[in-house]
Amino acid sequence: MSDIASSRLRRRYAAERRFKALGLAAVLFSGLVLAFLLVTMTANAIGGFKRAELVFPVDFRDGALTVDPSQLQGPQAAQALQGAGLADVVAFAAAKHVGEQAAAELDDTAWREVADKLIADPALLQGQVHVSLPVSDDLAAAARGDGPQPMKDLAGRLQADGKLVSAIDWGFLSRADATGPQDVGIWGALKGSMLTMLVTLGLAFPIGVLAAVYLEEYAPRNRWTELIEVSINNLAAVPSIIFGLLGLAVFLTIFPNYRSAPLIGGMTLALMTMPVIVISGRNAIKAVPPSIRDAALAVGASRVQTVFHHVLPLALPGILTGTIIGMARALGETAPLLMIGMRAFVATPPEGFTSPATVLPVQIFLWSDEIDRGFVERTSAAIIVLLAFLLVMNGLAIYLRIRFEKRW
């Protein structure tokens, strides 16, 4: 081989290696971005699952709290404790053990957590209780290193004494939205999301499956069928915000009383999810071999019986996989729900399908707009909760695919 030829070959091989490295770099870069995103969110979220709490004992033996144990039963128990002056007792105990200045920074609703403890175990009234109660947003910010210097000094002193700690906040998973980052919780939004998803599933799944059955098993080849197919494919590609405009202009005009209710949100998302279910459903039905249909028809089943007794059960794993993926997309959807007013401040978990609610992604959006730094960690924690749900749903879809999918 001549020198020119071999050097040309070397150059070509070098180009080959560069090209390959470039490809690998592209793949790895995408993977790294994903890892970076997840790591940043998780790192922030760790703080979001905790909150700053003051630790001190409350002594009920000195008789400052006069409440009859029989009052601690039933729905009025918390009110009875409030009436007996529990808030003052807690504040007094705090002032005694952590100092006046720190006691003033106790969260306004902190006494409720003591009340819950007492209601759960009235025997505590005869003794001393060690409590760990949330502090105000200002002191919590100072504990993170933000805010005015005197507050930071106070936080530093308390932390050095071990009286101000950062404890895991289980209540985050059981409370609803609030005005300050110390008091917020995710349960309200989570429940709203679940109710909304139930409506979406209840509408999109039957309609999607029936439409898929019609298009695959019955539809004649004509202009109407083509129109249906074209509109389903288009709907799958329409930006989600357009569905929000539809929900606003149509659903809220028909049901003006149900503004920001899971019912309307679920209906809007159902229209968005339905095309996904139809498309995956058609593929699943198409994959069922014709011999199954022929066998059923040959032993005398009607066409409806063939489809509903034989084809559909065999196609179900595929349909369910597509449904779960569509539902996961709907669960993370924000824009259409902003349009139909599910962005209101809702401080109690929704009671039903028609009460005002917010959903997880919208809650994330609302918290991300808050100025208080404490919300940054809470937002990340909410994101981790959302991602955990999506992970479970997608994992379920993959499991269904592997476990039940048949290759014919």
Partner: protein, 463 residues
Amino acid sequence: MSPAIPILLALALGLIGWLAARSRAWAFRKTARAAGGELHSLPGYHGWYVALWTLVPAIVFAVAWSSLSPGLVLARVLADPAASALPAFGIQRDAILAEAQALATGQMTAAFRPQAAALVEPFRAALAHYSTIGLVLTLLLGLAGGGFSYTRLKPDFTARTRVERAVLLGLLLASLVAIFTTFGIVASLVFETARFFGFVSPMDFLFGTHWGPDPMASPTGVSGDRYGAIPLFWGTIFIGAVIAMIVAIPLGLMSAIYLTQYASPRFRSWMKPILEILAGVPTVVYGYFAALTVAPLIRDFGLAIGISSASSESALAAGLVMGIMIIPFVSSMADDSIAAVPQAMRDGSLAMGATTSETIRKVLIPAALPGIVAGVMLAVSRAIGETMIVVMAAGATARLTANPFESMTTVTFQIVAMLTGEGSFDHPATLSAFALGMVLFLVTLTLNYIALRVVKRFREAYE
């Protein structure tokens, strides 16, 4: 009374009808078999026949009633003498009515406004009146349908054929939902856009260069020069079709090439799902990531290289993150179109002594180009319709600039901003959201249509 009660009532009636009809059919079968005959349909079909006749009219009525009755209740309350003290129109009147209704249904316990307290009794009476009417009519309809169908049952009654016809009708209706939805989208967009163009001329909207609607200004005498959407279109194209694509096309294409042509099956089976996760992360998470992490980095970088206008809400931050989100779309479309190129073309190139990369660059990509272009068009249509990333990271100021470090706004951002404000539904600022939605809808539809045509023709070329 909750709207669920009539529906539950209808369901209960349906169940009763189903049980009754089935047991009657069993009785038929017994006598028929004693005489050596057989029913035309299985007893279950008789049950379903009666259940459908009972359920469908009652449920349709119950649902229609639940959307109709609030209006009737309101009309009856307003006819009450106590309502004459209400202010004529406006927000106050609505607030009083809403409060009275909440009190009457027990959602609230104490009244704030004395006028509302006066209306509670009329409200309670009207609610009771109309909910009783609704319940009775639902019951009557269900009983009438059930009774009619029950009397038709005979041993040779063709219940199965009829039920199957109803099932077929149900299937057809379900598939028509897609058409209704498309029609609903088009109708609501066209209707509201036409109202918007009653305030602002289409020429001002489509070709004006200043965007600054004021939702608080008086809706009459709006001048069109505040509704020029060109800066929004530019921001949308710059973020979604330029910056995002500069990120997504090379990364997506190279990922697809590496994963299909070079990677070991093991590496591929790990990396492909990881890339797909990028498409599954909710957009609100990307938006938060862009606003919290990427935007400050970009601002600092911009300031470091001497761009003083670098803002903490930049087109670049939104575009970059959007590009990352789009990578899986580009890569899976490129994957499909490269896989569709016939193996013989690849083998031919390799047999002539070309290296793998030369084969990819000179044979596979040119052959797959139509499919790749179509994939990019789909990705663009997805990027310009993307909302949360730009809402959280791109900013609200409409600017005509090519400086990616400045904040820029997009069509989707303005739709959200106009509709989540306090503006009334008769104001051009609110209505402009629908006009913007119309433009967005038409553009994404066109992009998708062309892309799908290209893909189809491309597939046919190699079949």
